[in-house]
């Protein structure tokens, strides 16, 4: 760096050279300087290799998968907290009997099915999508009870929603049970089961006590990037949600439907 011919090449120049932030004349001067200083050249090349390694190592995480933003409707704009957090809090407070303590009416309205037609089960698709978005990115605590306690999980959830059930086996489709949690759905207890495949894609099954919908066949809906299949069968309404494409989600839904039909 103290070579008389290139006395003005600075440390900053070396970095700007690497980062492509020099004008052409300066870049040429730095290149010449490096050619006559092999040790310095080796150092710069070492930095370049480390930079490349960093870019390579973190590139796979530059994904928008599994991310979605809440609809910026007039109701949610009045919600002060971050919406992802708010959704989790809303559930937590409802579970704890604290609804209305922290939450204003707007939030409560948002999490109850009023405003949707009960008859067509539209509310359920909305709930299912919200639940999915709330928990799909949860890394540590997506579920309250893990799959390793499956018997306990389903009997506990079954008791809470007045519908004994077993968890569908979806291994044939590549999905394994992660666990489940209890949620208020339409103001009554509901159960969420989360599944995950080897790629880390998650799907949720929601079982809700039917609050007035007619029996329906499969209905598909799409919102906020989440695909949902739902159906109503007597006292229970079901919804399967995921960032999966429609055929994949439909295959899952059929398997889930068959499971619940036969049990």
């Amino acid at each position: 760096m103290t070579d008389r011919d290139h006395i003005d090449i600075t440390e900053d120049d070396l970095h700007a050279y690497l980062d492509g932030q020099l004008d052409p004349a300066r870049r040429l001067a730095v290149a010449k300087h490096l050619e006559s200083h092999p040790a310095l050249m080796a150092e710069v090349e070492d930095w370049r290799a480390n930079d490349d390694a960093l870019r390579g190592a973190f590139a796979p995480y530059a994904t928008g998968d599994g991310v979605d933003l809440p609809e910026p409707g007039p109701v949610q704009r009045r919600v002060p907290a971050g919406v992802l957090m708010a959704a989790g809090l809303a559930f937590a407070f409802l579970l704890g009997g604290g609804a209305g303590y922290l939450l204003n009416d707007a939030v409560v309205t948002e999490t109850t099915p009023s405003g949707f037609s009960l008859a067509d089960g539209e509310w359920l698709a909305r709930e299912a999508s919200d639940v999915y978005l709330t928990y799909v990115r949860e890394v540590r605590h997506p579920v309250e009870v893990g799959a390793e306690e499956q018997d306990h999980l389903v009997s506990w959830l079954g008791n809470r929603i007045d519908k004994p059930f077993t968890a569908p086996e979806l291994e044939a489709l590549g999905f394994a049970l992660v666990g489940g949690r209890l949620l208020p759905i339409g103001g009554v207890p509901g159960a969420m089961l989360m599944y995950e495949n080897a790629q880390g894609d998650r799907a949720t099954i929601l079982l809700a006590r039917n609050i007035g919908a007619r029996d329906t066949a499969f209905q598909f809906s799409h919102g906020d990037g989440v695909n949902t299949f739902r159906w109503v069968d007597g006292p229970v309404a079901y919804a399967i949600s995921g960032f999966l494409d429609r055929p994949q989600l439909e295959a899952l839904s059929r398997a889930v439907y068959d499971h619940f039909e036969s049990t």
Binding site: D19, Q21, N50, A198, G200
Partner: protein, 167 residues
């Protein structure tokens, strides 16, 4: 703003992984940043959304580190939470050992140095943009970048594998 925000999320998540080197912390930081941005969207003045988002994440991360939620020196290297253990579907294509080494080397940098290095190297920011986003003088950007690159190289060398170029 919503559509534009969505378009920045992938890079924002990559930056979170770079800052934390750990999946749980990265996803927490990422979600907190998005939530903070949505909360404060009225205070966004409509210019350079990308810079604003990265500034929020940098600040939240600084708080996270200051509050002791990152204590790399207390974690033995072999047990350091690496991205390889993250299981985001991404690691199959990666060399988990290399990722762990890089994360361990990044952990030797101060959060401020690390942020500058990642903004320049991972996110391709110009030095001027980094100065604006982090609200620091250009000279500080350059000195942090220099110390970060040298620190990273030293840490990787001490890792007994002389240089990434020899891989």
């Amino acid at each position: 703003m919503r559509a534009e925000l969505m378009s920045h999320l992938p890079a924002l998540r990559r930056y979170a992984y770079g800052l934390t080197g750990n999946r749980d912390a990265a996803e927490d930081l990422f979600q907190a940043t998005v939530a903070r941005a949505l909360e404060n969207q009225r205070s966004w003045r409509g210019i350079n959304l990308r810079g604003w988002l990265f500034a929020i994440m940098t600040n939240l991360n600084r708080n996270r580190v200051r509050d002791g939620r990152r204590t790399p020196e207390s974690v033995p290297f072999e047990d350091a939470p690496g991205l390889a253990a993250a299981g985001d579907g991404a690691e199959e294509a990666r060399d988990p050992l290399l990722q762990r080494r890089l994360v361990a080397a990044l952990d030797t940098l101060s959060p401020d140095m690390r942020a500058v290095l990642l903004l320049v190297v991972l996110e391709g920011y110009s030095y001027g943009e980094v100065a604006r986003v982090l609200e620091i003088p250009m000279g500080t950007v350059m000195s942090r970048l220099s110390r970060a690159r040298r620190g990273l190289a030293t840490a990787l060398r001490q890792d007994n594998i002389v240089s990434m170029t020899q891989r």
